[in-house]
């Protein structure tokens, strides 16, 4: 059992990326043994109204049972609460909002209200730190990385909010985790897609200092090849229960609430 909480469907606006259709994603999942993928609509992340990609996402998830929709919510648009309610009704494992791509202030009022409302609704809120290395982005792709302070601010915004942060590196994770109370840190989950393995051994270090319960299997595919997330786990001497927790158990428990 392997649940990938960090996947996308649809074209990337900044370069040609192969494998962006549902069929290609399922093929890639089979290639590396991924059972289930949480998917977002990639082009919609930059749309004025990103929720226009959600219907297609729901239809796709109906047609492909292994794909679970993670629809986007834009708290700056009217009726966003209805988008969140629909996600809960449709059983989405999480909703996402990437403030840096939507022109929202990461710790602004809209994001704080969204976090609090997600907490009340019992729906985890997912956001990425980045999708690509700053050094390789398109010249017009000037969105900054999500700041660690924003995650600390959002987790403190509401006692019930649960955040999933993807594409974070070791420094980011440590800054947030050890900048939170234990109770706050227990409402944070990190995908492993951007954490380095050996010889820097960032993932091994984090698993030793923070523990495996806070980590989720994530790849960032198709923008990144999914083999990376599997390889870094294969390079660890990880007890079977800890690996199973990262690969699926933590995600299952997160969804179960």
């Amino acid at each position: 059992m392997r649940v990938d909480v960090n996947t996308f469907l649809g074209a990337y606006p900044w370069r040609r990326v192969p494998g962006t259709t549902p069929g290609h994603l399922v093929q890639a999942m089979d290639r590396v043994g991924i059972t289930e993928a949480w998917v977002s609509h990639l082009p919609g992340l930059w749309w004025k109204d990103p929720t226009e990609g959600n219907d297609w996402l729901y239809e796709t998830a109906v047609a492909h049972a292994r794909l679970k929709p993670v629809p986007t919510v834009h708290p700056g648009l009217p009726h966003w609460e209805e988008v969140l309610a629909e996600a809960a009704t449709r059983g989405a494992p999480a909703v996402r909002c990437d403030p840096q791509f939507l022109g929202l202030v990461p710790t602004g009022h809209e994001m704080r209200v969204l976090a609090a409302t997600c907490g009340s609704a019992g729906v985890p809120l997912l956001m990425s730190v980045r999708l690509e290395d700053l050094r390789q982005r398109h010249p017009l792709d000037t969105a900054p990385d999500l700041p660690a302070a924003a995650v600390r601010g959002l987790i403190r915004a509401d006692a019930d909010v649960r955040l999933i942060v993807t594409h974070a590196d070791r420094g980011f994770i440590e800054e947030v985790h050890f900048g939170c109370t234990p109770a706050e840190a227990e409402r944070l989950w990190w995908d492993i897609s951007w954490i380095w393995g050996p010889p820097e051994d960032h993932l091994a270090t984090l698993l030793a200092t923070i523990g495996p319960a806070r980590f989720l299997f994530g790849t960032g595919q198709p923008l990144r090849i999914p083999e990376h997330a599997v390889a870094k786990l294969d390079l660890l001497d990880l007890p079977a229960d800890a690996r199973a927790a990262i690969e699926a158990g933590n995600a299952r428990r997160l969804v179960a609430g």
């Binding site: 380095w196 050996p198 010889p199 051994d201 083999e227 870094k232």
Partner: protein, 266 residues
């Protein structure tokens, strides 16, 4: 057989207090992945007493000496590039001669000078004389200057390669940050530039683009600072290409590029 053409080990005089653990981790992870030989460079003191990419003469010599000692400790698994700073031309050429005599098998140019600078010509002449490939640090499509390095991009490396058609150049870490599409377009028609697949980047489509640009014959497997990404790319290639092509990338291309006898199976 698997040859990592872009490896680093940290010496005792580096700023890293965990240098032993780092080196041990690299060797252990390499064993688990099946790395036969790590072809490594040591960039002076990695910033402790002179900048990593602008090492002093003393640090250059120290780094190369330390690496030779490390190779003696791990004779089956470690080979060395001679690292030089071309701003010190006479020292650089002498260091190459000294390194070759001690069994080093390649030349590493970090970023002490732009790749197309004429100061690189004497060290390339020395590389040719000793049949050494030249691994050059590259920032894929450098659009501006960055602190701490005179980073070069593929266009600049190709200018150097065209001036030295009998020398083989390795464009470092195509996945190491920057616009790899730009680099691949630049090197496509320059036959003596090889592409090293290392770097932390594991972008979807990058490996296909590498094969399209230069073919399997000019691709070299490497990891640089992240063995996990190197292993991931290797696993992906094993699904993308026929096994014979993967063997070329895993080690055969490298075995042809480096001096005869450089590797155990040669």
């Amino acid at each position: 057989m698997l040859i990592d053409v872009h490896a680093h080990f940290f010496p005792d005089r580096s700023p890293r207090s965990d240098w032993r653990e780092y080196n041990a981790s690299r060797l252990a992870a390499g064993d688990r992945m099946g790395v036969t030989v790590h072809v490594a460079s040591v960039l002076g003191t990695f910033g402790r007493t002179s900048p990593t990419y602008f090492p002093s003469m003393a640090d250059v010599s120290y780094g190369n000496d330390w690496l030779r000692g490390f190779q003696r400790d791990h004779p089956a698994r470690v080979r060395g590039y001679v690292a030089v700073n071309p701003n010190y031309t006479d020292h650089a050429v002498a260091e190459i001669t000294r390194g070759v005599k001690a069994g080093m098998i390649g030349l590493k140019l970090a970023a002490s000078r732009r790749a197309d600078d004429r100061l690189l010509d004497p060290v390339c002449v020395a590389a040719r004389a000793h049949h050494l490939p030249v691994l050059h640090h590259i920032w894929q499509h450098r659009r501006r200057d960055w602190p701490q390095q005179e980073a070069s991009d593929a266009v600049e490396l190709c200018a150097l390669a065209l001036r030295h058609p009998d020398v083989s150049f390795i464009l470092a870490h195509i996945g190491g940050g920057g616009d790899w599409l730009h680099s691949l377009a630049a090197v496509r028609d320059v036959p003596n530039v090889f592409v090293d697949l290392s770097g932390s980047g594991v972008d979807g489509g990058m490996l296909e683009a590498c094969v399209d640009a230069v073919g399997v014959g000019r691709l070299l497997w490497g990891a640089d600072m992240t063995l996990c990404t190197g292993w991931a790319k290797l696993r992906y290639l094993e699904r993308l290409l026929p096994s014979g092509d993967v063997e070329e990338i895993r080690w055969k291309n490298a075995a042809r590029l480096f001096p005869p006898g450089a590797f155990p199976a040669d």
